[in-house]
Amino acid sequence: MIGPVLSPRGGPALDAAGRLSRRALGRGVLAGTVVAGLATGLVACTEDSPDPGAPAEDPDAALATEVVEALDALLLLHSATAAAHPRLARRLDAVRAAHEDHRAAVVEAAAAGTGVDVPPVAPTTGATPPAVSPRPRAALSAVVIAEADAAEEFSRLAFRALSGPFARLLAAMAASSHQHALALSPAAAGAPDGGSA
């Protein structure tokens, strides 16, 4: 449930006809529908197909494939960086876990569509591991750059998505990569006075 940013004075007492109450409810309902919509988002794009008897080419299928390819490249980079620099592995674990979750969500969404052939598991063999700098700081900088690039790429793909739920999913992935890039960058090493929750 999305919490209100700030309630109007007397907010909890707002009745069902109150503007913010109605909007908060709308957002909550939206969140509920999107949980289902995330899995069916790609299907939704094909429901208006003129020929329901024939396999329709999902307009977002190519996007899903692009997303998974980008995620696989990121995962390879994370694995190679962690292998080359074990002291960085702990910092990168959470990022890697996030991208594995992203990949699973995209595969799930793609599986609900048609004409999508996305490997359900990230390839661990056969792919050429990316070169990793022998210097830890440079290696970490490469990861930061890759995350920033991923944020741009996922944003671009979210912009192109025809399915609203799929666009929302990709947008959140873009925001996640953006946050990881900022958090991993040396400039973000120090939290402000309050610190992390």
């Binding site: 700030l6 907010g11 939206l30 529908t33 979210a158 959140a172 992935m173 873009a174 006075d193």
Partner: protein, 147 residues
């Protein structure tokens, strides 16, 4: 797609959130002494400018679409119980994460220039949360996926 939310509805929701955000960030900022907590004070000032700018942009976007922008409420429930900088910073982080949810929803409900704008706003809010000390999230803006 995303339920029955129209692009104008999504932008109105975002505007309602930004009205509240402008008020809340001003409230938080006023309670953080710049002399003792200059970094947090500066980040709250930056956040205030960002929220005010997005509020004004949303007003223009809605008027361009022939809609009457929702007005701010005359008053809001201020979190008077928050008195320490860590607590004020935590509230600011929550605010930015709430804004991420509003903008992620707007991405799904819009297309074209409005979607591009919502994407940018989402990234800005996500970045602001990090600047205020929040940990990176796997799904910023998707509260239903929070563990």
């Amino acid at each position: 797609m995303t339920g029955t939310l129209t692009p104008v509805d999504a932008l109105q929701d975002a505007l309602a959130a930004e009205h509240a955000a402008v008020h809340l960030v001003a409230f938080l900022s006023a309670r953080v002494p710049a002399s003792s907590h200059p970094e947090l004070a500066a980040r709250l000032r930056t956040a205030y400018v960002a929220h005010r700018g997005r509020r004004d942009q949303l007003v223009r976007m809605l008027r361009d679409r022939g809609a009457e922008p929702v007005a701010a409420f005359p008053t809001y429930d201020d979190p008077l119980e928050l008195t320490t900088p860590p607590a004020l910073a935590a509230r600011a982080r929550t605010l930015e994460e709430d804004c991420c949810a509003v903008y992620a929803t707007a991405v799904g409900a819009t297309w074209g220039a409005a979607r591009q704008w919502a994407l940018q706003a989402l990234l800005e809010s996500a970045g602001a949360a990090i600047a205020l000390g929040a940990p990176p999230r796997t799904w910023p803006g998707l509260p239903e996926r929070l563990a």
